[in-house]
Symmetry: C2
Subunit: 157 residues, 2 copies
DNA sequence: ACAACATGTATTGTGCGCAATTTAATTTTG
DNA sequence: CAAAATTAAATTGCGCACAATACATGTTGT
C-alpha cells in the first residue's frame, strides 16, 4: 500500500488544532459562565468593547462567521440585555450592533479572563506570541487556498 | 482602567486556534465530501483503519468526545454502510464499532486527503512537526488544568 | 445473595457552524 | 428611469459539541 503514516491520527496537525481549540474553549467555559456568555458570544463582545455599532457583516469578517451563525447568536445577546440591534438609517439593509449598558458594564468582569487563560496555557509571553504568529501565518495560507477554491494536488477523480 | 491589550481580539491565541481549526476543517470539507463523510466522521474512520472493533468509550478517549456526540455520529456512519455497531458479548454495556466492507474500501480513497492538506498548509515537514509538537504540549497542559478543575489565578467572585 | 456503587451507552436540550435559499434594500446598467 | 445585478440579513436544515440526565449492565462489599 501507500504510506499509511500520513493517515495515522497522531500525525495529524489538524486534529491537534481541533483538539486544542476545543480544549481551550472548555477552559474558557467556566470563566465565561460567570459572565453568562459563551465563547463565540465573548468574541463578539471583545469586538464591541473595541468599537461600538459594528454591522453584522463586519463582525462576520472579523470572526470568519456568517449571518447564519451570527443572527441567532446576536438575538441571544440582545435577549440577555447585553446589546441592541438597530437598522442603519442610511442603509436599511445593514443591522448595527450597539452595546447596552449591561454590555458596557460586563467589560470590567472580563479582564480576569485572558489573564487566567495566559497563565493556564503555561506559555511564556514570548512562546505565546511565537505560537500565535505561526498559527496566524498558517491561517492566512489556508484561507487563501479556501478562497481560491484552487487545488494543490491533482484531485484524483 | 487595566490593560486593555489582553482583551483585544488580535492578541488572543485562542481565537487564532479556533479560526485555524475551522479554516482547516473547511479545507477538508470538499475533499471529504468525495468520501461522503464529515471531518469528525473522518477522525473516527482513521482510528478504525488502524484498529477495528474499538469501543465507543475508547473512541471518545482518543478524540476527547463523549457519547452524546459519538452515538449519533456512529449511527450515521452505520446508516451510510461504513461501520457496524455490535454489543460486546463479554460485557453487554460495551458497543464495539467494526468496519463494514464499504468502510474498509474507503481507505484507498482517503490517502489523497492528508497529502493535499500537508501541501496546502504551505509548511515544510519540519515546520509541520514543530507546530504539532508545540500544540500537543499546549493541549496537554490545558487538559491537565481542565481535568483538575483547579484555578490558576484567584477567581474573583 | 443482594444492596450500594461504578461503568458504558443513550437521550435530551442548547448553542454553535455552515451550506443553501429567501427576502428586502441598494446599486448598476442599458 | 426601469430592469438586472448586487448586497446584507434572515431563515432552514443538518451535524457536531457538550452538559445533564437516564438506563441497563457489571462489580464490590458485607
Amino acid at each position: 500500500m501507500e504510506n499509511d503514516a500520513l493517515l495515522r491520527l497522531d500525525n495529524q496537525l489538524c486534529f491537534v488544532l481541533y483538539a486544542c481549540s476545543r480544549g481551550l474553549t472548555k477552559t474558557y467555559r467556566p470563566l465565561l459562565a460567570k459572565l453568562d456568555i459563551t465563547y463565540p458570544q465573548y468574541l463578539v463582545m471583545l469586538i464591541l468593547w473595541e468599537k461600538d455599532g459594528v454591522s453584522i457583516k463586519a463582525l462576520g469578517e472579523k470572526l470568519y462567521l456568517d449571518s447564519g451563525t451570527l443572527t441567532p447568536l446576536l438575538k441571544r445577546l440582545e435577549t440577555a440585555g447585553l446589546v441592541e440591534r438597530r437598522r442603519s438609517s442610511t442603509d436599511e439593509r445593514v443591522v448595527q450592533i450597539y452595546l447596552a449598558q449591561k454590555g458596557v458594564d460586563l467589560k470590567k468582569k472580563a479582564y480576569a479572563v485572558p489573564e487566567t487563560l495566559l497563565c493556564r496555557s503555561g506559555l511564556t509571553v514570548d512562546q505565546f506570541i511565537g505560537l500565535k504568529t505561526e498559527l496566524t501565518a498558517l491561517l492566512e495560507r489556508i484561507r487563501a487556498f479556501d478562497a481560491a477554491t484552487s487545488s494543490c494536488l491533482p484531485e484524483q477523480e
